[in-house]
């Protein structure tokens, strides 16, 4: 039985902050098939297209029939723990700080035996669910979970190393003026975040929901204007060391492409709020977050970008908006590489049109702000990196995987 986490004590200010370390992160190119699946929360192994053998560890050819036609595919993740051991001494700096650490061998029902980290509620001889997770260094690793959910299982220390659970963490929602920002504040409060800082720009300007927002449990309103470098810096100077999960809810949705728009005012605003806003946040909050990736129960854990799925393929009806989102996606990839050594995950959450004013004329399916917020919390609990929320996002993901040129063409018609 997992011991429930207790709220961490206030930090002793005389103690040095433990710096982030990563387990070994080098993987073969083929093994990044596991990275891709783990990033999105799928369980995939290589399957031989010729003899149908399921293959693990990752190889360039099928060990059964020597065919080179092996491809990652979803497979069943059930198995039995054959053996377990507890590592008490390690030469790896990352594990030295975290022993005792349980590992074991799991015989999957689909064939292979996998050496995996063991969740505390999994014992030798028991049935287990195997998952691939991205560890603190962003590399895919196997972890065996109990067959059925157990009480407090999210609090298991080994599991928590691989997730970004908001429980007892301090969260910054960057824009509370929007429906999405407010839904996010509610979702994180319900998920047990210790503090939910919610940024509000232009406090002199009323907004829908402004009275309900401060009433949400553990919400603290902070002045934050993502278009104002000084405002972002000031908040980071005061609270940067207390932000464990940052969720950038800034949005600027306006219809229109390139030619039809008259002038650049709106395009500049889009880039200022979205792209430059992200850069400002990265510069102001990135250093402290990247230094606090191993800072105990409430270590810095995740930087969350909310991105239109049209960052992946331009939607000409909202063409300039899509271009801005694409810039944000590119920046997020850079930020991911920059924060990886700090043990902080950069999570990109893709969605289609939202159930908000600026998509008023767009027919359903649309994503409700609360749905998006719950998806973000859920994905953090699972430690994902790339998340697709709603039918439009899922559809575009699938179609892009099949034929990106066709999507580009169809979406503009």
């Amino acid at each position: 039985m997992t011991q429930p986490l207790t709220r961490p004590k206030r930090k002793n200010p005389l103690k040095k902050t433990r710096l982030p370390l990563s387990p070994h992160a080098v993987r073969s190119r083929a093994a990044h098939g596991l990275t891709a699946a783990a990033a999105q929360g799928r369980f995939e192994l290589q399957v031989c297209l010729d003899c149908k053998a399921v293959i693990y560890p990752v190889r360039d050819a099928c060990p059964a029939c020597l065919s080179a036609r092996v491809a990652f595919a979803p497979v069943a993740n059930g198995g039995t723990v054959l053996a377990e051991t507890t590592v008490r001494v390690s030469t790896e700096p990352y594990f030295r700080e975290r022993v005792p650490w349980r590992v074991g061998m799991v015989k999957l029902d689909v064939g292979p035996v996998v050496i995996a980290h063991l969740h505390g509620d999994v014992l030798e001889g028991q049935r287990a669910r195997l998952q691939f997770k991205l560890d603190k260094g962003g590399a895919p690793v196997a972890i065996a979970l109990p067959e059925k959910d157990t009480p407090n299982m999210a609090d298991d220390p080994q599991w928590r190393e691989m997730t970004c659970d908001p429980k007892f963490r301090r969260v910054l929602i960057t824009d509370g003026r929007t429906a999405v920002g407010q839904a996010m504040a509610k979702a994180f409060s319900q998920a047990g975040a210790a503090t939910v800082f919610v940024g509000v720009a232009d406090g002199w300007k009323p907004f829908a929901g402004m009275d309900a927002l401060p009433a949400i449990e553990r919400v603290e309103i902070v002045p934050l204007d993502l278009t104002d470098t000084e405002s972002v810096r000031e908040l980071a100077e005061q609270n940067g060391g207390r932000v464990d999960i940052l969720v950038n809810t800034a949005e600027h949705v306006r219809p229109g492409g390139l030619i039809g728009r008259h002038g650049l005012t709106v395009a500049r605003e889009e880039m200022d709020i979205r792209y430059l806003g992200l850069v400002r946040l990265a510069q102001a909050f990135g250093p402290a977050m990247g230094a606090r990736g191993a800072d105990g129960v409430n270590s810095a854990a995740a930087f969350v970008n909310l991105l239109s799925v049209h960052a992946l393929v331009n939607w000409p009806a909202y063409g300039a908006y899509s271009a801005t989102e694409a810039a944000c996606l590119s920046a997020a990839q850079c930020l991911r590489a920059e924060l990886r050594p700090g043990g902080v995950k950069v999570m990109n959450v893709f969605f289609g049109p939202l159930e908000t004013d600026w998509f008023q004329t767009i027919p359903p399916p649309k994503v409700a702000p609360a749905t998006l917020a719950n998806a973000v919390v859920d994905a953090l609990k699972k430690g994902l990196e790339d998340v697709f929320v709603g039918d439009v996002a899922e559809d575009i993901r699938a179609r892009l995987a099949a034929n990106p040129k066709a999507v580009e063409r169809e979406i503009g018609e």
């Binding site: 002199w204 300007k205 470098t229 000084e230 005012t265």
Partner: protein, 261 residues
């Protein structure tokens, strides 16, 4: 007129001519006018450090700034409004620079505004002011003292469900000031020269429509009007020389001689 500029300069130096700053600091937080979101918006003041004695420039500190022409304490040129679009010399770069210096009549309605955010300046109110202070002379700025500049930003912007609630002039009084008093322009402490709900007047935004339609100027987001006498202050308000500019942030100074008051 016999006049001695040297004694003017000496008067400034020895303090017998007082210089009062009517300008708000250009800051990121200061409210900018809010239009419905489907319209283009005026950019707020923003500042990016270029260097500060660091690796970006070891011995010097400087910033790049961005503003709209109507950000912070600013000047409105006639070309700003459609009614003034065809006038000669209607943009900040072509206005006769002599017009950047003019006397001011300051109408104090701060008490009325304290009680009523929707206070409207009317012709009878100005006539009553004139009975006390004398007729507004041609070529004077008319500055509306509301003490609005002393309000916290939320009250200053005055935004409610139905838009801004801030004091301003009726269409009749603006027309009257231009046609019957031949004023130089109209200046306010509020975000615009017009009443907060001025879009519902006929014509909408009369301070803009009539003033600029007759080649007169606007000043807004002024402060320290409570330090000015009803008559006698001289206003120095020279906008940036922006090519075809509709206005500009600027430093507005009031000069007070010993004759003022």
């Amino acid at each position: 007129m016999a006049f001695n500029l040297r004694s003017f300069a000496l008067g400034i130096a020895d303090g017998s001519i007082k210089v009062i700053d009517l300008t708000h600091t250009l800051s990121q937080e200061f409210p900018t006018i809010v239009l419905p979101p489907e319209f283009g918006q005026c950019a707020p003041f923003r500042m990016e450090e270029v260097s500060r004695y660091d690796e970006r420039g070891p011995a010097w500190y400087w910033n790049n700034i961005t503003v709209g022409e109507h950000t912070g304490t600013h000047f409105d040129a006639p070309i700003h409004w459609i009614s003034g679009k065809d006038l000669a010399n209607n943009s900040v770069d072509t206005i006769d620079p002599a017009k950047f210096i003019a006397p001011a009549a300051v109408i104090d309605c701060s008490q009325e505004c304290a009680a009523d955010a929707d206070f409207m300046l009317t012709v009878p109110f100005v006539e009553s002011w004139e009975r006390q202070h004398g007729r507004i002379e041609a070529g004077n700025w008319v500055l509306l003292r509301t003490d609005w500049s002393k309000r916290p930003y939320a009250g200053y912007a005055g935004l409610r469900d139905d838009g801004a609630h801030t004091p301003g002039p009726t269409p009749a009084v603006v027309k009257w000031l231009v046609e019957e008093r031949d004023v130089h322009g109209f200046g306010t402490e509020t975000i615009g020269t017009d009443y907060g709900q001025g879009q519902h007047f006929n014509p909408p935004y009369p301070a803009h429509f009539y003033m600029h339609g007759k080649g007169r100027f606007g000043l807004q987001c002024l402060t320290n009007l409570d330090l000015l006498p009803a008559k006698g202050a001289v206003i120095f308000a020279a906008p940036l020389k922006i090519k075809q500019g509709s206005g500009s942030p600027l430093r507005v100074l009031a000069l007070l001689g010993q004759d003022a008051g």
